[in-house]
Every structure is written in C-alpha cells, then in structure tokens.
Symmetry: C2
Subunit: 178 residues, 2 copies
DNA sequence: CAGCGCATGTAAGTGGTTACATGATTCA
DNA sequence: TGAATCATGTAACCACTTACATGCGCTG
C-alpha cells in the first residue's frame, strides 16, 4: 500500500502531470518503488477523489490534454502520518537465486552466462547511481539537510548494487573453478 | 511466474504434502521465494493438472487427509528448461527507502526508531543464516557438488543481510549526528 | 465426546502487468 | 495530410494476501 505515498512524495518535490511523474519514476523514485504509467494514472484518480491532490485548473480540460497535479494539505498530512508508521521488510524475492537452487537439483548449462549477464546489468546500475551521486551530491551537500536523507537513500542503492556485483563475481569464480 | 518452479524444486529435493511444503518454504526456499499455504495448494492443483506432478496413491483420499506429491518426468524436464531461460532482475522495492525519501520532504520523528527496528530484524535474519551455514555447510562440504550451488545461494542471503545491517548502522549514525 | 491441532481447501479483495484505445500536437 | 509523438486513459488478466470453511485424528 505504498504507491500513493510514493506519488505524494514525488508531487511534493514538484507538481507534475501523469506522464512527467512516469518519467521521474523511471529515473528516481522508481529505483526503489517502480510504477508504470497505467498504475500512476489510476492512482492519481484515487488520490484526487480522496481529496489528497487536485488538478491545477487547465484552459481546456479534455482527453489528451496535459493535467498538472499538486498536493493538498490533507495529502501532506496523510504522507506525514504514513512516514511515522512501522512496516516489516518484505522477504526478498530473487528469480536468480531460485534458478541457482533449481540448478543444484536438475543441473543446467546456461547458468554461468546468466550470472554474467546479471553482473553486467548490476554494474551498469551501479555506475548510474555513482553518476547521480557525483552530480547531485557533491561532498559539501552530503551532511546538510535536507540533502542528507536523500543521500542516504542513494547510498542504499549504491551499496545494494555493490553487494550484487561482489556476490555475482564470487559466484562466477566458484563456478569456473570446476 | 516462478512459484511453480520453486515448488518443483522443493518436491524434487523431497516429495511432500502441501503443508510440509509450506513449512519448508518458511525456513528454506521461502528465504528467496516466499509463499503462503493458499498459494501452494492452488499451485499444486495446477501442476497436477498439467501433468508435472502426481499425488502418491493414498489409502483414503478425502478432505483433511494428507496428500503427498512427487515430480513426474515432464515436471523435471519443465524445470530443467526453465533453469536455462534468461530473466532480468526485477527492480527492488523497499518501503523503508521510500519512507526515508518521504521523510526528506515532510519530516517525521519516528524514522530513527523504525531504522533501529529493521536493524534488529536484519541482524536476527543474518544470525539465522549463519547458523544454517555452520550446520549444513561445514567447510569441507562447501567446495563439492552438489552442495556448492546451494552454499552460494545461502552466501547470497548472508551477504544481503550484511548489506542491510551495515547500511542501517551507517544511516542511524548519520541521523544521530544532527 | 469436546476441544485442539493438523491438513486441505474456497472466496473475496488488492496491487501490478500487459495490451489496447483515443485524443492532441508537431512537423515533414 | 499523414506519420510520429505526447498524453491520458480502459480492460483483462495474473499473482499474492487475507479471511474464512471444512474435515480428520488425537487427547483429556
């Protein structure tokens, strides 16, 4: 039940239309809470009905016309309340680990290549995060509010990708040593 | 679309009833592909219909009676084929990181406590994995088939929990330094 | 024989994915 | 004016979650 809160956060950072939100999800919030444009439009409708956001008055309201949304006080209050709720981490789900476990039972020749492929993908993601870090968080901005929290979030993404790169490298080495 | 393959893997490791599978998911395969008993029963029905598994002949087939399943050759073939397919890693989804990003916008007083809580949970999970490692994978078994792949999978779980513990510890330290 | 735990299931609801539909704008 | 692109939306489907229902077997 977190998509609406992801959208509220994004809209507070900057009022946007549905498609703009979609794009921003693709390269920012979506790194830890992804969403497609269909989800976003549906959710925008619900949030508007709930009185959490409103569409800025548009000259010609019609299908195919851009519609900008902004967060209302009730929406900000809802988000602030949600921030202070507790929620257990969801158990992880990794198709790759599952594949590996299955390979331990039935064998399989393509596993090595699949590990290499994932390694390349995670390396690319790591590089992307590191670029964002040097661009948006120069050392002097890292310790000051409100950048500190956002930098910690990015750090989480970076360290997670590093974990994958290291584990995959290790796994490939083990498989090669057969 | 991986639950059926998780079940096939588990059944190949050891033929089981639905409830036994549920329990084994809770403390083994479920660490990287969790499932509830409702999902498992439903999926067992589908797998049986597809001819991938069969129920071992029971003395009294009736509701409330235990039903053991075993994998048929077609099921093993399906699993072997699946192991050699490619699949991109799904973008991660973390409610905690989202909360943190929201806190950067609307503030929030409970974030610190929530981080501590998650830290405790991840520490406990890490300990559990480490116990499994010392119990099931003594050093001499780690390099030999077929334990090597399974040990790599466990290693993945361990390193992932270590990542969380380290990141959370760092984040809590940063927040304390206000 | 009542109550509890084991075991298998059904039903309804939610959230996310995939495929498609429609209107507006721009530009060759 | 027709094709490409921007922008908003609908519909069907699928996986997962939550709540509940039912029957068997053992034990007090």
């Amino acid at each position: 039940m977190s998509l609406p809160h992801a959208i509220l956060t994004a809209l507070l950072e900057k009022p946007s239309s549905g498609l703009e939100l979609t794009r921003r999800f693709d390269r920012s919030i979506g790194y830890f809470w992804s969403a497609t444009h269909q989800q976003i439009y549906r959710e925008l409708g619900k949030l508007e009905q709930a009185g959490y956001i409103r569409a800025l008055p548009a000259p010609v309201p019609a299908r195919g016309q851009k519609k900008e949304y902004e967060v209302l006080p009730a929406g900000r209050a809802e988000l602030a309340a949600w921030v202070d709720t507790a929620e257990d981490p969801k158990p992880m789900r990794s198709g790759l680990l599952l594949r590996m476990r299955a390979a331990a039972v039935v064998g399989g020749t393509g596993l090595r290549a699949e590990l290499e492929r994932h390694l390349a993908l995670h390396r690319r993601q790591l590089d992307e995060y590191l670029e964002i870090e040097t661009r948006d968080f120069p050392p002097e901005r890292r310790a000051t509010e409100p950048g500190r929290l956002r930098h910690l979030v990015l750090r989480g993404g970076i360290d997670l990708e590093r974990f994958w790169v290291e584990w995959l490298t290790h796994a490939i080495g083990e498989l090669a040593a057969e």
